[in-house]
Subunit: 399 residues, 2 copies
């Protein structure tokens, strides 16, 4: 089974937007055991889009077109696919109603050209997922198929995961099962993980299944991915479970989670499991930790709140060391929000003699106090983000 | 003059690496007035690489191949280009010496396969820039040309800027200058912007220069990009300035910034310009606004601080309406941080009778109070992010 990706949009060719959609789709296809041998970017031009889609359909069994489904005049993916299918566009009343409804719900007036999005090639069907106002399409051509999804990454992902991949799998029929599991680590460098895993990877090279790959993903840590290719689901899962156990024994407490588990999710779960609440004080990270915790704990049942403010007067010389300021702030938010845990991140300033990027973390847990210090990459953006993850990792290990 | 980009590497198709190289090259080509109508990703496979490069060379005047120049067995770009040129590979003694020297300088032993990098198609020449150990190539074919550059972004950029672009410009003869400017808008839908600009776009279609394109960029708003193609820099800038004036007259206060100016930057600049400080109260957005403001105002000179906490007791029925809670919170942070402006974002809860996604914004500016209400997309993630931008936009319009 082969499936190509065609990313549509002049802004992609001009470098205004980096085409990360094709990469994401390529990864999903690979995990599903589908080959993606070519991926093409083309501008919003009828003739060139038509040529690219025709060629992709010739070389492969399926084509995923990404972008060009908006309501404006340069959004012509629907029209081009209809031409390739050799059918007219017809207005789909159900989609039109749905688009009208979306605008009503938000209390906004719909301009008439939005209804262009309800014009679909005869014989095509709409993808049920529709997080935005652009409907995605499934367009069968003989025994092949063209899918059209929007260029907005969140909408694209929902449609590909919800409809495109299941449909491709169905078309592929009984096939090999490829399953993977990612162990997420923090606190060990990429080459450190490489060294720890050298022996096990050599063993797996001999065995052939599963395989291991790892990549550094910035503030998401080093990801170690195990992939098993088997005839059935059960065997694949058994292999993954066994390999996870082996890798956890090698990597130890560097492993903080699995697959989509972020550091903040893991920490919030650990707090919930112990019936503990948390409040945080941020200065250098300026709200990043709070926004991450509140994204998951939307009811703010475990994460009680945060105070964001400079930890020292920017003009006066500091009356306390950065360690002492982080202790003061951790106790202050613990008290203010009546939380079990108070956590503070404080960066040493240039005039305080510490190496650039030095961050002090204090965790007040009931009456106990735990302090940590770490030196982070120098630029401020990375220091803010790494500081937040380091603080969460420190709390994770304490719990 | 047309130039295609071919990005080579199976890991690009598998989504292990996002192909940002093509985007960067596309941008450079556009700025040099060279059209790049197609960009293709292909794996490390001889037949498929050959087919893609031949097709690119047929459709365009020049092809830039990115990747596959390393010393390992799967690095076959040199071999494929030689096949397309119909010539053998010959070992270039100068390049071989240079590669040996590189290893010596770094005190590392060179394995023999590194010398494969000195095998170049007969008639090709090495690109003088060589920041790594992989030489880049200029390979003329009749009146067309194939360039080969490494996939490592820093090496690729040095070669493209230093040799490829100047060579393309020389081949093109007297060249055009392409310059663009992006107007950023908030508060009008994509189709709304489309309708407002229909007449002007039709006029420009007749004139031919400049051109306008726009795209919806989620929480970055709708971007309207003006592109001018001229013989010289001065004319291009004059056209952009004139067109910006015309578009601002049409789009009015929906335009909040130009090019890289984010909403928070524009708002912080407006506050600074008036000597005003700000403090914020966040509940539903849980720290997103604070993290954005603190990312820019790192000294926290204008952004004094934030309090993040639930705006109501999650168990008790609320004693105040959401409007009243947002007023209370705005005044509270204004007072607590001693700021000129207090801003609060409050979401109505399900049991309060408002439409889902309804957000109340209050801005306390000294003794005056301004309130706004907006209905946002239902899912929580988007509600949080759109709530923040809506609040900033409300403040921008007030200032």
């Amino acid at each position: 089974m082969r499936c190509e990706v065609v990313a549509i949009g002049t802004e992609l060719l001009l470098g205004v937007i980096v085409d990360s959609n094709s990469s994401w789709i390529g990864e999903q296809l690979a995990l599903a055991g589908i080959d993606s041998l070519y991926q093409t970017k083309v501008g919003d031009n009828f003739q060139r889009m038509e040529a690219v889609i025709r060629q992709a359909l010739e070389r492969s069994d399926a084509v995923i077109c990404c972008g060009g489904l908006g309501p404006t005049q340069d959004d012509i993916t629907r029209d081009v696919i209809a031409k390739v299918m050799g059918v007219p566009l017809v207005r789909d009343a159900t989609i039109a109603d749905e688009i009208r409804r979306r605008f009503e719900v938000r209390g906004r007036t719909m301009s008439l050209n939005n209804l262009r999005q309800a014009d679909i090639p005869e014989g095509a069907s709409a993808i049920p997922e529709m997080p935005g106002t652009a409907p995605g399409l499934v367009c069968p051509i003989g025994d092949k198929v063209i899918y059209a999804v929007p260029g907005v990454p969140s909408e694209m992902k929902e449609m590909v995961a919800g409809t495109v991949l299941p449909d491709l799998r169905r078309r592929m029929g009984a096939s090999a099962v490829i399953r993977s599991r990612t162990l997420r680590t923090w606190g060990v460098s990429e080459s450190g993980v490489d060294e720890m895993l050298t022996e096990r990877m050599a063993e797996l090279d001999r065995l052939g299944n599963p395989t291991i790959a790892f990549n550094a993903s910035g503030i998401e840590g080093i990801k170690v991915r195990v992939t098993a290719k088997c005839d059935d689901e059960e065997t694949a899962q058994r292999i993954l479970v066994a390999e996870e156990k082996i890798l956890r024994a090698i990597l130890g407490e560097a492993v903080f989670g699995i697959d989509g588990e972020s550091m903040e999710l893991v920490v919030l779960n650990a707090l919930r499991g112990r019936g503990l609440s948390i409040a945080v004080a941020e200065s250098v990270s300026g709200g990043i930790l709070a926004s991450r915790l509140s994204a998951i704990d939307t009811a703010m049942a475990t994460f009680k709140g945060a105070i964001i403010q400079p930890d020292r007067d920017p003009v006066q010389p500091p009356d306390l060391s950065p360690e002492a300021r982080s202790l003061r702030d951790a106790k202050a938010v613990q008290r203010h929000f009546g939380a079990d845990v108070g956590l503070a991140i404080v960066a040493a300033d240039k005039d305080e003699g510490a190496r650039p990027g030095t961050v002090f973390i204090t965790i007040a847990l009931h009456d106990a106090v735990h302090a940590d210090m770490t030196v982070l990459p120098g630029d401020r953006k990375r220091m803010r983000e790494y500081g937040v993850i380091s603080a969460l990792n420190f709390l994770r290990k304490l719990l």
